[in-house]
Amino acid sequence: MELPVFYVLAAAIVVSALLCITRRNPISAAMWLVATMLALGFLFVTLGAEFIGIIQVLVYAGAIMVLFLFVIMLLSLRGAPSDMRRWPAWVLALALAGTLTLQLLALGRYSPERLAIEYSGAPTAEPDSVFHGAAMLQSQVASHGVVGAMAQPLFSTYLIPFELTSILLLAAIVGAVVLAKRRL
């Protein structure tokens, strides 16, 4: 059941991402990006990250993209000429993106089994006996729920980074207000 859902969502993600970078109108590009992020949120749920999936829809497809749409409409770019670069850029983009895809496709060959064998040095090793993350994830979700399992490391192991992000957000708010102000 998981696999067909995954492939439908993957096709939706790739098609809407391609439409996003090729639409001339910035508004339709933004709407296709919303579609990409929405499908990605569903994909996160399929992959067992329910909380991240919901946050993806709320923060990315909701908040961040609304910000983009606001700015696009604020700038009123109607009647602007096409912003596509000429063909040399297309050739460069295709070559670079193709090379990058080929290199990153090596990621697809990653398997926990092989890493477990290399990590433990034994000729055969079960990934679950070498890495305890997956088992711990399941037990934590069972005892604390989906959100609780996420809150546990966030407020213990990652407490200092968590506090730092609040400072970062404060700095971003102040920076955005200062930059967008007409006169200081």
């Binding site: 970078i21 670079l96 711990m136």
Partner: protein
Amino acid sequence: MLLGPSLTLSAILFAIGVAGVLIRRNVIVVFMCVELMLNAVNLTFVALSRAHGLDGQVFVFFVMTVAAAEAAVGLAIILAMFRHDQSIDLRQVNLLKG
């Protein structure tokens, strides 16, 4: 197991984002393509967190926070840029060009 296909999908998504940055001249669209790349990396984190534990998902949380801050500051810069020369075309941004 969806690990391999997920990582492949994130590779393709990242490459689409890179291609978008290279073929567009509109600053806002280029910025959206950067968000697309961030999303591709998030997909990698989520896919690997399934095999290696929750830390990947915590990282996605942080990436999203940083992306939100980046979007707010970046869009403010774009607004200031539009106010400066009435255009958001990347060709107009050549003040530092020698």
